[in-house]
Every structure is written in structure tokens, then in C-alpha cells.
């Protein structure tokens, strides 16, 4: 019960600040929190990244191994994305099989990487129809202070950028860097009445789970979108979101270019 009361208080606070056009942490409506990316944090993984988005922390580890291709793409590597919202990251996460929240998270992150063709999968064919590289992208949420979506997407592409294909380990020649050729960036916004709040915190999310995620590639094209939550989106806001998402993604992409 005390948790419920706190949620009410937070919601009132967020909304009262917003009436004056302000956010509780002093950010502008379209301002991301501070982004910190550390790569190669796990030696045993082929690639890894720890992303801090304000107080939200997500770790992504990449593991690769040879395996069978899908029958319809016999000459291409395979991407498998999974997300675990472990109970360590939030009082509301419970152990057990992935719920719809973590499945949605993993699938939207996967969409951005897959549809932007960020990884050159043709270069991950070992023997056509028989053996290709399987890339496992495992998203591990560590601290959920809101917007796990963008933090996870950022951690995933950061980890991929530093991934080495472990060919030697499987006696398949020399190790080589994973061929990454695009930088998809996810921008999630919270819709509160007429306002669009980019990169919402957990406290801001107490006003309702009304999100839209838009993922763009390095040519400013849209490669993935997902409306999430029980709310109605006006056409006008939809167009506004597209513009905000393109602009914010450009800024974040600059950070990725330094990896």
C-alpha cells in the first residue's frame, strides 16, 4: 500500500511541474539524460557494453557460436535477441519466464538492429545451408529508472560494435571484427496530454505507460516503431514524434561514432 500512495504523490508532482512546462529533474522536454557507455566490460563475451542512461543501467553481452541457418536464409548469419528483467533491477520485476514486457523489449531492440541491416549477415556464412554464425544478443537490465528500451538498444549496438567473431575458438580461421554497417538509434517518448517527454524516468512513467518508440538509421530513415500502452495517439503527435526522434537520434549517434 505505501508504494501505491508514493506513486500517487509522484504522479501529482510530475503533473504539477509539467503544467509549467517543466520536468522534475530540470531537463527540457526533449532532452535525454546523461549517457555513459562502457564497452568490453565482460571478457568472456564476444562483445559487451554497459550503458548508463541517467540512473538506468543495462548490460548487453554478445555471444557467438556456429549453428544452422534458417531454411529461407541459408547464406546468412542468425540474430537471436533476448531480454531478462531480473528482480535485482526493480522491486516490480519477478523471477520466472519472460513476461510480455521483456518479450516486447527484446523484440523491439531486435527490430532496430535487424531492419537497419546493422550487421552484415552475409559475411557470417560459414558453409551455405549448413553452418552460419549465430549472434546472441542478451539484454540484462541492472537498474530500471525508466526507459529501459533506449538504454537496451544503445547497449546492444554498442556491444555489437566491439564484438569479435570468435573464429579461432571454433577452428574456423582467424578472429575478425563483427561487420557492423549501420547505427540504429531508438528514441522513446512518454505522452502526457499534449506533451511529449523524451527519455522518461521511472517517476515520470508513474503518470501512465504511454510510450512510443521510434528507431531510425544513419540516413534518418525509420526502421522500427512501436506504440506501447493503453492510450490514443493523434495524427499530429505522431508527426511531431517522428521529427523529435530523428533529431534526438542524430545526437546520440554522434556518441556511438566514438566507440
Amino acid at each position: 500500500m505505501p508504494e501505491d500512495i508514493l506513486v500517487d504523490i509522484r504522479r501529482d508532482y510530475v503533473l504539477s511541474k509539467l503544467r509549467d512546462g517543466e520536468r522534475i529533474d530540470g531537463r527540457k522536454l526533449d532532452e535525454f539524460r546523461k549517457i555513459e557507455i562502457k564497452t568490453n566490460v565482460i571478457e568472456k563475451a564476444e562483445g559487451s557494453a554497459l550503458v548508463k542512461l541517467g540512473d538506468t543501467q543495462v548490460m548487453v553481452g554478445i555471444k557467438m557460436q556456429p549453428g544452422e541457418p534458417y531454411p529461407d536464409t541459408p547464406d546468412r548469419g542468425v540474430i537471436i535477441t533476448n531480454a531478462e528483467l531480473v528482480p535485482l533491477a526493480s522491486p516490480t520485476f519477478e523471477p520466472g519466464p519472460p513476461d510480455e514486457g521483456s518479450i516486447e523489449l527484446a523484440r523491439v531492440v531486435d527490430r532496430g538492429i535487424r531492419e537497419s541491416k546493422a550487421i552484415n549477415l552475409e559475411k557470417l556464412c560459414i558453409e551455405e545451408g549448413e553452418k552460419v554464425w549465430i549472434i546472441f544478443i542478451d539484454i540484462h537490465a541492472l537498474d530500471d529508472d525508466g526507459n529501459l528500451m533506449d538504454a537496451s538498444a544503445l547497449a546492444a549496438i554498442s556491444a555489437l560494435l566491439t564484438t569479435t567473431v570468435p573464429a579461432e575458438k571454433f577452428e574456423l580461421g582467424d578472429d575478425y571484427p563483427l561487420p557492423v554497417r549501420n547505427l540504429p538509434v531508438s528514441v522513446t517518448s512518454l505522452l502526457v496530454g499534449e506533451r511529449i517527454l523524451v527519455d522518461p524516468t521511472r517517476d515520470e512513467m508513474s503518470v501512465g505507460n504511454n510510450f512510443v518508440t521510434m528507431i531510425t538509421d544513419q540516413d534518418d530513415n525509420f526502421v522500427g516503431m512501436q506504440k506501447s500502452g493503453t492510450f490514443l495517439l493523434s495524427e499530429e503527435k505522431f508527426y511531431e514524434l517522428m521529427d523529435v526522434s530523428i533529431e534526438k537520434a542524430r545526437q546520440i549517434r554522434e556518441i556511438l561514432k566514438d566507440i
Binding site: 510480455e100 527484446a106 530513415n221 525509420f222 526502421v223 522500427g224 493503453t230 490514443l232 505522431f238 530523428i246
Partner: protein, 243 residues
């Protein structure tokens, strides 16, 4: 496979123009036990929707003292696709169920039925691209048939980018080999599209193509809406005549 041309002489593989829907058939009240039901065909998609409720919530701890909970289950029959689908929910259907439920929850007047549940079950008997949109259209009609109070009706349709062209209501080949897929659902009230209830997208589209897609989807949705309306009216007109 790469050479497969999806558009020839301005026509699509099945002879449709860019802005044409596949043929749609809607039947209302086709199941006896359910409180509301609908059978719908959209091209080669064949789906059956049933609504139960408002009814008691099981398990009880899920009940919300302030409103009804809405549950939605998108389930594909093992024989509905080319290669047999393993029965039960997979990750794709969990995600589709989530966004579909959220779309319908925006129009159901849940506050009228505290501590109860509105359960929506949709079975895909045959799938051929756009099954989530076919299911939402069927579910929407089944909700009306069940007499659930709603603020409007949900109508859903997808658009795709195929050989660089934005097309309405993609079929399987266009979905598989096209460049992008963007399913929408709209809330229609008093005969007008009011807002977007479901939005997903994957593939690659410019801002202008997205805009073009939305306009095309709205046109398609209005046509589907008319068919949903006619199907509902037809059932109740027949019942009146029988009395």
C-alpha cells in the same frame, strides 16, 4: 527469389492496385457459447474472435477494484501456416496480444465493470500476412456483438513498402519480400477516424513514406469500417425481422 517482381505494370501480384484491400467477409454471432463472436476473412486470412464477459476474474487477485481488466489472446492454429506451428504462445504472439489488447482497452468502458474481466480470444485458422489486423477487426465486431459498452470501434489495417511503392493491406509475398510493414489500428467514432490505437513498424521507410502510409491506411480503415458496420447491422436487422 531476389528477382521476384512484386509489382508489374502498376498492379500487384494478385491484380490489386496500390490502394486496394483484399476481399473481406465478416459474419457476426457465429458462436453459441460466447457472449459475442465474429468470423472474418481478409484475403486468405481466416480468423474467429470470441468475447466473454464482463465476467468474474480468475485468478481473483488479478481483479481491479476500479475497473474491468481486458485480456486478449492471439493464437495461431498449428495448421494455419505453411509449416506446422508448434501449439501455444510464442514470443511473437505474446507481443501481438499485448499491443492488440492495449488498442482495444482504449475504447472499452472498463470503469463500468469493476472487479470483472472482458476476455477476448482470437484464433487464427489460416494466416496470410496481416493476421493481427484481421484479428483486431474481428475482435472489435465481437465486442459490439457482446454488447460491451465502447467509446468507438477499432479498425485495423497494415500498409507496406513494396518495390519502393507504398501499398495497402499487404499479402504474404509482399510481407516476406517487401521493404517495410506498418500495421495500424484506428479508433473510429461517429463515422470519423479519431486517433491511432495501434502503431508498429519494421523495415525501412523515409518520413514521407510513413506519412503516405498513414494516409493510405486511413483510407483502407474507412472501407473496413463500413463493412464492420454493415455486418453488425445485418445481424440485428435479421433478428428484428424474425420477431
Amino acid at each position: 527469389m531476389e528477382e521476384l517482381k512484386l509489382i508489374m505494370d502498376g498492379k500487384r501480384l494478385d491484380g490489386r492496385g496500390f490502394d486496394e484491400l483484399r476481399p473481406i467477409k465478416i459474419e457476426v454471432g457465429v458462436l453459441k457459447r460466447a457472449d459475442g463472436s465474429c468470423y472474418l476473412e481478409m484475403g486468405r486470412n481466416k480468423v474467429m474472435a470470441a468475447v466473454y464477459g464482463p465476467r468474474e476474474v480468475h485468478p481473483k487477485h488479478l481483479a481491479d477494484p476500479s475497473k474491468a481488466i481486458v485480456r486478449y489472446r492471439y493464437n495461431m492454429a498449428p495448421f494455419s501456416v505453411e509449416e506446422r506451428k508448434r501449439p501455444g504462445p510464442d514470443r511473437r504472439s505474446v507481443e501481438i496480444s499485448k499491443v492488440s489488447r492495449e488498442a482495444l482497452e482504449t475504447i472499452i468502458m472498463t470503469e463500468m465493470f469493476p472487479r470483472s474481466a472482458v476476455d477476448i480470444f482470437v484464433e487464427i485458422l489460416q494466416a496470410d500476412a496481416g493476421s493481427r489486423t484481421a484479428c483486431l477487426n474481428a475482435a472489435s465486431v465481437a465486442l459490439v456483438d457482446a454488447g460491451i459498452p465502447m467509446k468507438g470501434i477499432v479498425t485495423s489495417v497494415a500498409v507496406a513498402k513494396v518495390d519502393g511503392q507504398i501499398v495497402l493491406d499487404p499479402m504474404k509475398e509482399e510481407d516476406n519480400y517487401g521493404e517495410a510493414d506498418m500495421p495500424f489500428a484506428f479508433v473510429i467514432r461517429n463515422g470519423k477516424i479519431e486517433s491511432i490505437a495501434l502503431l508498429q513498424m519494421d523495415g525501412n521507410m523515409t518520413r514521407d513514406e510513413v506519412k503516405q502510409g498513414l494516409e493510405l491506411a486511413k483510407k483502407g480503415a474507412m472501407e473496413i469500417y463500413q463493412l464492420q458496420r454493415e455486418a453488425i447491422m445485418k445481424k440485428y436487422r435479421t433478428e428484428e425481422e424474425e420477431e
